[in-house]
Symmetry: C2
DNA sequence: ACCTGTGAAAGCCTTCACAGCA
DNA sequence: TGCTGTGAAGGCTTTCACAGGT
């Protein structure tokens, strides 16, 4: 379920504050969902709550971690180290959730060979040539790939990643990737998100005009 | 509808290639949806197709642009010019879809006063202090705000943006923002996206184990 | 012959409401 | 009494299938 990561984050914060038990009502409010929805979601994992009391925060957190696969370490390769790829490589939120950026690949010869900081601990990683994609991915044994290339390059990169055994892809390029159905592709399109907001803004404006 | 931006992008590419008419089947395939779904979506806008023929690509594109509010120009303010904010400011995909980054704000005094390139045309924009948020937002009359700050600062920034009249917010900080229901908030959480992929990866592994 | 537009059916997700247990 | 777990109801989205134009 797509909401588990949210519960995971909220529970992390709650346990850090030393809270032992939490009710579905409280957890739901902090996650921005209804309590009924939250209980349905959690019941999908099993019965980890206590009637009349609530959920043991630490235990529930562990169960969600297990379900999300955060008890293990996922090597991630980022292809395309432009502004966005750079931001992703630097993003501190990955490390403490089980993701380790272990490969950086870019087509620009000016970038190849440069080392950049990965995560927040000051570790550095060298940028490799697109020609070495197969070598790098196989070497680090990555199952997850991030595509932060221009749109034109994305499909080719995707095909090559899949050929090397990558089975999950996070795509930031504004194209619809076609792959075998065995590969999981998620897309994040920054411009699309803004367009959806603009759409609502405009509707708001239309409504106003009618009122006026 | 959340899929209109995808159709918009696909149609842009199609018209650039000089194609005049397009069937629901073709457009759906290029957009990664079923043809029935696409026709339902488009019928929501009105009857812009011709039975037995298909859709006039240019005309349909215009109608979608109008519906999405892309025929007008949306001033956007970005708060938080770290790696991600920087990437967003530089992102070329905004300009040609009606979005104009007109304000950059950051709390870090080291960044304030610096000018960075915005969009792909080499225009530059100065980074302003968080203290001047109200002044800047009012000045440029932005209705759309992007929050790319650390999690701890996000809610405060959000409140201040809303107070200045911002009614749509794109939030990259990993927190659930609470606002008046009149404000549209969309959230993009990079770590969450990876977690969802890892979730599927793990399920895949589980299935394997059962088979073995 | 071909392709759109759309009612009807099916499926999925959310909400309600309460039984059941601490 | 209080809160979880869950059937049942309701609403929304997708798919089906075909009538209706060109």
């Amino acid at each position: 379920m797509a909401r588990l990561p949210i519960y995971h984050r909220v529970l992390s914060q709650i346990t850090e504050r030393g809270i032992i038990t939490v009710s579905s009502e409280e957890l739901a409010a902090a996650s921005g969902v209804s309590s009924a929805k939250l209980r349905k979601d959690l019941s999908f994992l099993g019965s980890y709550g206590t009637r009349g009391v609530g959920y043991d925060a630490a235990y529930l957190l562990y169960q969600i971690q297990r379900e999300l696969g955060l008890t293990q370490d996922w090597p991630v390769v980022i292809v395309g180290v432009g502004n966005l790829g750079h931001a992703l490589a630097n993003y501190g939120g990955f490390a403490n959730r089980g993701f380790r950026v272990v490969g950086l690949i870019d087509a620009d010869p000016a970038l190849v060979g440069e080392t950049i900081t990965v995560g927040r601990d000051g570790q550095t990683l060298m940028i490799h040539s697109l020609d070495d994609l197969e070598k790098i991915v196989t070497e680090v044994d990555a199952l997850i790939g991030v595509i932060a290339t221009p749109a034109a390059a994305a499909q080719d990169v995707c095909d090559r990643l899949v050929d090397c055994g990558v089975t999950s892809i996070l795509n930031f390029a504004p194209v619809v990737l076609t792959t075998s159905s065995a590969v999981h592709v998620r897309k994040v399109d920054l411009a699309t998100e803004l367009q959806i907001l603009a759409f609502h803004e405009q509707r708001r404006g239309d409504a106003h005009e009618v009122i006026v």
